[in-house]
Symmetry: D4
């Protein structure tokens, strides 16, 4: 086949390769899952469709799929989770991206506190939940439309905030550009940003930070 | 000359024409001020340079110029101010635009409360000043960079918030685009937006609302 | 569930929460409508599909859906409407957005005069209907393509004009960007702008102004 | 030298080459004017600076420069003007571009009626001047900011309207993009558009039409 | 209904209203065609789908639809065609837009010479067909991708060239933006531009010019 | 004055406020430095001009300015530096931004290893210096033009990489947009991004991570 | 029909015309293949759908279609391949574009070495395969998302690198813009770029170079 | 100092490093020239200002600067030139970029034929010079504004065309974007593109091709 397996990565970086399911032909995806589980490796895929799930499930009965996050897992170990991060969202429509982040972080061995629908349009919802941030090693802030949540949170906590803009919204959100620019231009300190809808990437960095 | 004077406007809309000084040749500007003051009309200009001010001042000693807002006024009446609006900013760099808004609104006969440097990076600065909004007929929220102030304020008050994005910032602020998109995409209710750095336009609408 | 209900809003801002139906799973939406109507609250949703309507209708027979505006209402009170606003459009293709605005404003207790298809390409259609604006507290101007209607109206009336750009058009309209920029850059006074296709947001602010 | 003179053009197209002065080194420009006038050809240059003018003037005393349009002419013939076009503008800041158009058209032998500062923010100024359009073979409509003038005029006349967007404005005008998009998306019939600030190009086409 | 019929237009501008079919509900469209034909008016619609055609055909058997251009006509008069224009394209994929232009121009009473697939990648195809342009009153140049055809033609003819950028292409054509910018920035003289894919608009102006 | 000092920040977040000098009036800036040093607080400013430096120096002789980074410091404590981060650049033109990052991180008490001009066009320069990364808690990767350095580094190390796009380049770099998009879209894991040229912001987060 | 066949091209340029299948009506496409094969010409089409393939296959049984590259060939000659180029990709999702390039180059008579999934996120995969580049006359580097592969390769080889950005990715990849800008701004020497996803264009130039 | 000298390049790629003078401090630049010439290496710098030239000249009397191309050379060898390429431009304003390309190619040992001001607005200028292309190994086509020259040339020759978009133009040229998109989207075969105004990059690749 075409793919050059990156056997160095687990050694170099301490993370298994995660499968990006979107766009992969279903038989090809099933084979990837089979190969990896046959080697005794736990596998997590992101952006898996229901159809992909059903095919993998048929081959590997332990496969579990979450409709909201579209995460598709075959997890046999019982990995101990350490530390803690917070994943928060501006609205309920951001939850799929947030759950991708949360479930990837958990798969990588991180404890996660979820705090959803606490966007700045009703700031009391965030302020009355500040205790959730205590003791967390970092925060993933997921928001679409105006994306202001990340900056407000960064002004309130003293740990790194990883901002995830989402494509939620319409019109002049230009597919997530509005939230992305908001986050890049935040005048709060302690924010860094990942690609639009990239819950996975945020979880990866959050885990790196959480392990320090 | 080229200009078609809009003699209908004061009748149609209850506001005098305000002079946009930027780009006007100085002698031409002096003449406009002289013509209008000769007719007994109070004049306000926006975006006047120091050089323009000095020339107008020489012709009309009562001319007053504010370095921060670049507003250039010849005001002889002692106009009674009614109602009240709040003008707030995210940072200190937004103050020139905010002052343009505030001084135009005052010239049009509106009382103004200023609340500057209360951006979302330190949200307690806004929350501890909420009483300033009580009884105001509307709010002008001026912010650059991420521009999140407008949405947070709109979530806290029950009057219209007129959002003014500013070109303050650098890099991916793209000359004010970031703040503009934030404001247009706000998930808070009760926000409308004007052009980047358009303090004047916000003051005009705020005065219309304040007069209702 | 995930959503943090914003119980403060009605108290803080005098408006019930309006449901944004687009993208919500149908069973989830039905539940939201059931919960709210069970509490005796009248509910309005925007951007509801026919399929969503049919499911809600089955659960709540009083549910009413308008195909043009895609507004889905359960309204039991007989709310008195006060004041008056005008909702006008450039063309007939803008009517869905205009009707979202008009019906939301009516739901919030505002009287609405509709003036559709009066765009600037045939300016006499607007000029011969100017009496419709008399006595209105504000105007919502809805237009796509070139979006020039808002500026022309603002030059003719003395109340605030809330401009709603629409995504109507093709090619270099770039999904509504052309109308949005026209409105933000209008040289007429008294215009503020909301997001592309955001009839809801315009109606909210118009109601705030109308109540003053 | 580098330039390949286009000796065919006058034959092929009936127009002399017009000199684009901007960016040309002054001695180089003087030489071009000298060469052409030596051959008995009348010369018109666009976007000439005062400094360029003074150098050309020293070499050719008949050279005439207009500060507003920045047109620099050496015109010895007394060319008969035929037909008639209208050049109109939205505001006074658009006049430099309009004058480039008007003076180029006149140089090419076209009669020109000017109608400046009749933008849509005060539509009565246009409507009360409609007689100026009677008998014109085409209209050049010059406007910046929202650029709505072209569409309104096209809805009122039955000859081609050549729309010239200008870079006049600030913020979200994005250097003339707002007016350009407005004009390209106009729902009025009979409009075509040229580049931002391209008065020259509009005059060229207007003359072609006027000669038909 | 909503639409304000523009009864002035035929009087003011000498053209009937042409129906923009795209996005119109089929029953609504049928009614428009019935009303107009009942009044004895010939009707032309653009961007009509096969489904719309079939419904109109059922109501009005004389309706004729062209699959390539998607023009849907009910034409009973036998209108005399005058003058002549050329419609040319860069490639074969641009033909649908070109045919919209050609058929609209013919409907408006203009003779049309078609010259398709003569783009600049094989310039001899254009050069060996130059006689087609002789005697034409203007040219409509339709091209996507790089859109260079319009500039080359304008350098070769002495009548106005109306450039129609198309959305043909992929990748960095950005939906027609590449061809649009090419045409707006052409260094050839005598070009004006209309919206992306707007064959109709080009035909309207070409007819205005052709009638002069 | 206008500014609301954020006295909570040091308590809330463990960092003093850093002064953003750009755009501040010189006398105003001098006063800020005087006030803070009078309170015994060490001060660091970013983007200070030589002129600003000279004025501050006159008031506070201990002030030190670095021409490359434009950092302006008054530092009396002798703060112990802990941990270690790496700051690397693609080219030498990126060094000003990198030095802003490095000096801010050092001011905040972090040890810094510099590795400059190791961009991907000569990858051996990076590969032969990999030992510099050993033991670092995180990496700041600064690059303009294509901005590929961040992704390559992230593929080689197992700590977070904070990517800083710079505006270095010309043409289609669009002021730093090219590097920004490269970094946001990196297929390597462990990257987050800050605003174009925002060395300060990267240093802030790097320090947060380094302190964990 | 409409198309002007370019009979000169094979003579002028030494390449047969390649058919761009996308958007062509199936019967029209079948006819093109029949005409050309009837003349004894081998035919290659790009971006052919399965449906198009099946129709062509029915008419011409020797037709061969590759699902990955969507190349549709009728090849009867047994053309000798000369020289050698390398086609490499950043990831597996870029393979369809790379295969279009590789198969077109082979059809034109070029030997091709494939080196897929060697992107910069795991640079050792590229470095351990450098021998593949020895003796190649040029390299086609295909990459989406950040698109950094082209620059790294160009820094390592001494032959021209033709960079093909792909639309692979999501969010801020903006349909391939991110990779395109990366490649255009590469600080490595020896890179030129073609349109997003244009494997065909890269193969054409590579063959020109390979034949030298 | 900061810079990591790339001693491998000459060995790896057969080209010396060329100095990018823009933005380099003058003393720093002088030192670079001194170091390299002291090692007996011929040096070429691009984008050198007159001020930089004068300083280098003072240190190294053999330094030669060309005002048009801004190339600054110290060339002692008498390098034999091989092969031949053509450098052509659309207009005279593109000559500085073309000369950068031509002089860099000559410095690298390539013979260059110049063909300037042959843009598509007067296509006969190109067609009557086609013999210049005979025997050339490749063509560099330099054009701003609409940038159509590259596609026309590529349709006429059978060697690779390297397209260099320039920032020449105004308005909707958006700093060279218009020409860049034209070139990327060319429907002619055999074109690849480099960054806006990047004459150097084109010369580098042209030399690679010319040496094959
Ligand atoms: N069409 C609309 N456009 C923008 N905002 C809306 C729209 N309809 C409802 N909303 C807002 O969206 C909120 C509900 O969002 P959600 O929590 O996702 O249901 C409401 O409180 C309204 O403020
Ligand atoms: N203001 C202008 N904008 C666009 N094109 C112009 C302008 N003035 C002159 N031109 C054109 O530029 C050509 C001269 O360009 P050049 O050869 O650079 O002097 C003339 O033949 C005109 O076609
Ligand atoms: N170079 C910089 N880029 C972005 N933010 C900065 C920079 N330097 C300082 N800051 C932030 O700007 C704030 C000061 O802004 P101001 O109140 O305008 O002085 C500081 O608290 C920092 O958070
Ligand atoms: N995938 C492709 N991308 C760009 N151009 C192509 C592609 N495939 C074929 N072509 C070109 O498109 C031309 C055919 O276009 P057409 O006349 O529409 O069939 C061929 O001569 C090639 O130059
Ligand atoms: Mg909510
Ligand atoms: Mg502050
Ligand atoms: Mg209509
Ligand atoms: Mg005016
Ligand atoms: Mg063809
Ligand atoms: Mg270097
Ligand atoms: Mg891979
Ligand atoms: Mg020329």
């Amino acid at each position: 086949g075409f793919a050059k397996l990156d056997h160095h990565r687990k050694v170099r970086q301490g993370f298994e390769e995660v499968v990006y399911c979107q766009g992969k032909a279903t038989p090809h995806l099933v084979k990837i899952y089979q190969t990896l589980t046959a080697e005794g490796i736990d596998v997590l895929g992101t952006r898996a469709s229901r159809e992909q799930y059903e095919a993998v499930k048929e081959a590997i009965p332990e496969a579990v799929w979450d409709e909201v996050s579209r995460v598709l897992k075959v997890e046999k170990r019982d990995r101990k989770r350490i530390g803690r991060i917070v994943v928060c969202t501006g609205g309920t429509a951001d939850v799929p991206v947030a759950e991708e982040a949360a479930q990837v972080a958990e798969f990588f061995g991180t404890k996660v506190t979820r705090l959803y629908d606490v966007g700045v349009a009703g700031i009391h919802r965030l302020l009355s939940n500040m205790k959730a941030f205590q003791g967390a090693s970092c925060v993933i802030a997921v928001a679409g439309m105006e994306g202001a949540l990340a900056g407000v949170v960064a002004g309130l906590v003293d740990v790194p905030v990883i901002a995830v803009p989402t494509s939620v919204g319409y019109g002049a959100n230009f597919g997530g550009l509005s939230a992305l620019l908001t986050m890049l231009n935040s005048c709060a300190n302690g924010i860094t940003t990942v690609n639009i809808d990239n819950g996975y990437g945020a979880a990866y960095v959050a885990t790196q930070i959480n392990r320090l």
